[in-house]
Amino acid sequence: MDTCIEKIRAIGADLLAKGTVEKVIGFADGSIPMATRPMALTSDKDVDKLVFNSVCGLNLANYVSKNSLSNKEGKIAVVAKGCDARNLVTHIVENQISREQIYIIGVPCTGMVDKRKIAALFDDEITGFEEHGDTLTITSASKTETVKKADVLRHNCRVCTHRNPPVYDVMAGDPVEEQTLDHPYEDVDQIAAMDLDARWAYFENLTKNCIRCYACRNACPLCYCPTCFVDESSPQWVGKGQNEIDVTTFHFLRAFHCAGRCTDCGACVEACPMGINVRDFTRKLNKDALELFGWEAGLVLDKRPPLDAYSPNDPNDFIK
């Protein structure tokens, strides 16, 4: 994956120099090791700031300004992994941006790492992170650890079957082989195997440390409402405190608003300061979207998400 970055920089520089795009949104190094941040470049002289590695876990589709279409903004290039590209497609389908306003620099992706898993190997602060092929070398004041990237992949990347962007303007590398999975929704089935009370307890336990910071919502490209239902005050749809039912209501509704739209990019989990796997909610919806509607979000430009469109063939045995 190291090789892609030279290509990404060259493409970015060319697009900016020729004025094909107004800005390039990509990843840049963060202020601490093992972190990256989104960055928007407007000059081809800055492209050396761009990086691409295994800690680019955020979703850059989130940083294309929402309502770009109605604001008639200029063309933007976005560095996009498989999942970012799928969320850009979703933006286009949902009329947040037009296809012409966006230039997708597709990056074949081999997955992002779970930083919490790596941090758990250390008692002290991580001071260095290096990547060579599929080997990661992480250092702290007390020791150096070498791990295989495959052993520390995020769960969503382990089960990702769309590592290559389905839609793009240019690719920054050769396509990677897509994974085929025997049991793609094992995590969902494990929860489904519990009895009702155990499931309720599982989700209560899952969200018990939630501090309602809404980082999961803010990191998600799907959440572009000008005022989120949790922030409304007239009417106030949900209590704003730490009451566990309010917390559960927030999580249930946030997830449901992503039904049939979620690409399982994992940005929500990446952003959560409390390490909560909020994907446990959206994964069930993704599984249902696939099983009931044969749908995976963000793969095609000419179809709307299943809950957004009516078809006489929609499953309707739940309704009396």
Binding site: L196, A198, A201, I245, F252
Partner: protein
């Protein structure tokens, strides 16, 4: 899908009902309400997704 997610989170399926009833379908309305009441009564009081204001 909403019902499925609620059930996945541990809410009893018999508490979740969806129906489409025209304002002219009085008997259907009565039948549906009866059926829902019976199912929910059989389950007893709901303890999940209930906000306790005393906490």
């Amino acid at each position: 899908m909403m019902g499925n997610l609620l059930e996945h989170m541990g809410v009893d399926r018999d508490r979740i009902h969806f129906s489409w009833i025209s304002s002219a379908e009085a008997t259907k309305f009565v039948d549906v309400v009866k059926e829902i009441s019976e199912k929910v009564r059989a389950l007893g009081p709901n303890k999940k997704f209930v906000k306790d204001y005393n906490k």
